[in-house]
């Protein structure tokens, strides 16, 4: 299992475990972490699973996928260089301990 910590806008943290191959988005939904809507179910049709990857982890989460940038432009909360669609980050053993910050709003 791979640990992921979600940091809410109020600073509170939730650490849950996900399966290798699952996304940071689906792990949040499956573990009942609020703050990710994921309206399109991971089809890259919306920007409601926006998260900010902790700067220490961006090397390991890699670059944005094709089209991800364009979807992020429509995110409800401000986007920065650490912004990703959490549906596009797949859990791998090297992401064990990953930290992501959730935005104020997704819709």
């Amino acid at each position: 299992m791979i640990k992921v910590t979600y940091i809410h806008p109020d600073g509170s943290e939730e650490t849950v475990e996900g399966r290798e191959g699952d996304s940071v988005m689906s792990t949040a939904l499956a573990q009942g972490v609020d703050g990710i809507v994921a309206e399109c179910g991971g089809s890259m049709m919306c920007a409601t699973c926006h998260c900010h990857v902790d700067p220490d982890w961006t090397d390991r989460t890699g670059a944005r996928k094709d089209g991800e940038e364009d979807m992020l432009e429509s995110a409800a909360s401000p986007v920065d260089e650490f912004s990703r669609l959490s549906c596009q980050i797949k859990l791998t053993p090297e992401l064990d301990g990953l930290r992501v910050r959730l935005p104020e709003e997704q819709v």
Binding site: D22, S26, A30, G32, E39, G41, S43, D70, S74
Partner: protein, 401 residues
């Protein structure tokens, strides 16, 4: 309607994407009353779009759940799966379900659609692809099928066809109309997808009517037959509006609602695929089959019930379909008679008279998202003017606006 306090007890009929979202949005809007979510299918509410895409390949049903069981407990939403509502008593404000009478202060109908069943001999041999149970059955049938025949060249039929081809099956798609996805895309986009499906080795039978399904395959009205071990029926849907109709609510291609998604009965709303509502752009009554409409409707209904917000529903529709390595994205919706203009970068702009009605793109998220923003702005400010002349002046390049 004068706005009183929020209802004490909201009953939602239909636990698909729209019904689920209504429950979730009510809680997000801090609704403090009771929420009962009644679904005809067993299990937790799940996403339908992947049933004809990722699920067919992975078979991972758990990944489809919209939320885990704990979500419903945590949010105090009473989920009653496997329960069919059989009637509504509007005077007494009660629904009949599974032998019990369930009272409501407000009722939300989110009953979705059912597959259309055209008159075809032996049609009960064909499989459906509407529910998780359907998809599970289809996956099993696909394992042994060498030849698959699909009745209907719309999104679902074509998504299935592309997956089946990808798994090495021989596939034929029979479509009664002379082009694919005729109801939802331009003739140009239909042609592009026809080429794509031919290129990956799918056989298309356009303008051909299937008259019978047998153990050997399908037969057309001209007497020719096509062998098939598996036949999928994907010939469109009809709204599940019987419950509303029998309760005396107006239905016309869906449960008729006003711009706030309320029926003529102030205690009953309808949303998603089953609802016919005034299109914010044209005022024409429309019914959309999409995740976007279901979830945006649900949020609007929740805001109205909790805060009394009566702003007319105003969201730009969007749709998508994954077929092989092509992602078709549509903003707005055109009618079959709308004009189309193909832009240099491959997007297709559709015009209802002089006004932009839809934008169709393939693997072009940038233009798609830009069109969503532009069309949303035009809804609130008609002066923003997405009209032909203005768009022509920039070579129909939305990114230049």
């Amino acid at each position: 309607m004068a706005w009183g306090p929020p209802p004490a007890r909201v009953v939602i009929v239909g636990a698909g994407q729209g019904g689920f979202q209504a429950a979730a949005s009510l809680r997000q809007e801090k609704f403090e009353g009771e929420i009962l979510l009644i679904g005809a299918e067993e299990g937790l509410p799940y996403q339908r779009p992947p049933l004809s895409k990722a699920y067919l390949k992975s078979g991972d049903a758990e990944a489809l759940n919209l939320r885990p069981a704990a979500f419903f407990e945590k949010n105090d939403v009473t989920l009653r799966p496997g329960t069919r509502v059989t009637s509504i008593d509007r005077d007494a404000q009660r629904v009949q379900a599974g032998g019990s009478e369930i009272p409501y202060d407000h009722l939300i109908l989110a009953t979705g659609t059912s597959n259309l069943r055209p008159t075809i001999e032996g049609l009960d041999r064909a499989l459906d692809l509407r529910t998780l149970v359907d998809a599970q059955r289809l996956r099993v049938a696909m394992e042994d099928a060498e030849r698959c025949a699909v009745i209907g060249g719309g999104f679902i039929g074509l998504e299935f066809a592309a997956v089946a081809r990808g798994l090495g099956r021989r596939v034929i798609v029979a479509e009664a109309s002379d082009r694919l996805m005729a109801r939802v895309v331009s003739p140009e986009m239909s042609a592009r997808f026809a080429d794509k499906h031919c290129e990956i080795g799918t056989e298309l039978a356009l303008g051909r009517t299937v008259t019978s399904v047998s153990s050997g395959g399908i037969a057309f009205d001209d007497g020719t037959e096509m062998p098939a071990d598996l036949v999928l029926l994907a010939a469109g849907v009809r709204p599940n509006d019987d419950l509303a109709r029998e309760a005396g609510l107006a239905c016309d291609n869906g449960i008729v609602v006003d711009a706030t998604l309320l029926t003529a009965d102030p205690a009953i709303s309808a949303l998603g695929d089953c609802a016919a509502f005034p299109d914010p752009r044209t005022g024409r009554m429309v019914r959309l089959e999409s995740v976007q409409a279901a979830t945006d409707h649900a949020r609007a209904v929740a805001r109205r019930l909790v805060h009394g917000t009566e702003d007319p529903y105003a969201a730009v529709p969007w749709f998508w379909s994954d077929q092989a390595d092509w992602k078709l994205q549509i903003t707005g919706f055109g009618r079959p008679q709308d004009d189309s203009v193909r832009t240099e970068n491959g997007a297709i702009l559709r015009f209802d008279g002089e006004v932009l009605s839809a934008v169709e793109t393939v693997n072009d998220a940038k233009t798609h998202m830009k069109s969503r923003r532009l069309m949303a702005a035009a809804l609130t400010d008609p002066g923003a003017g997405l009209v032909r002349d203005r768009l022509a002046s920039v070579g129909y390049d939305l990114l230049a606006l």
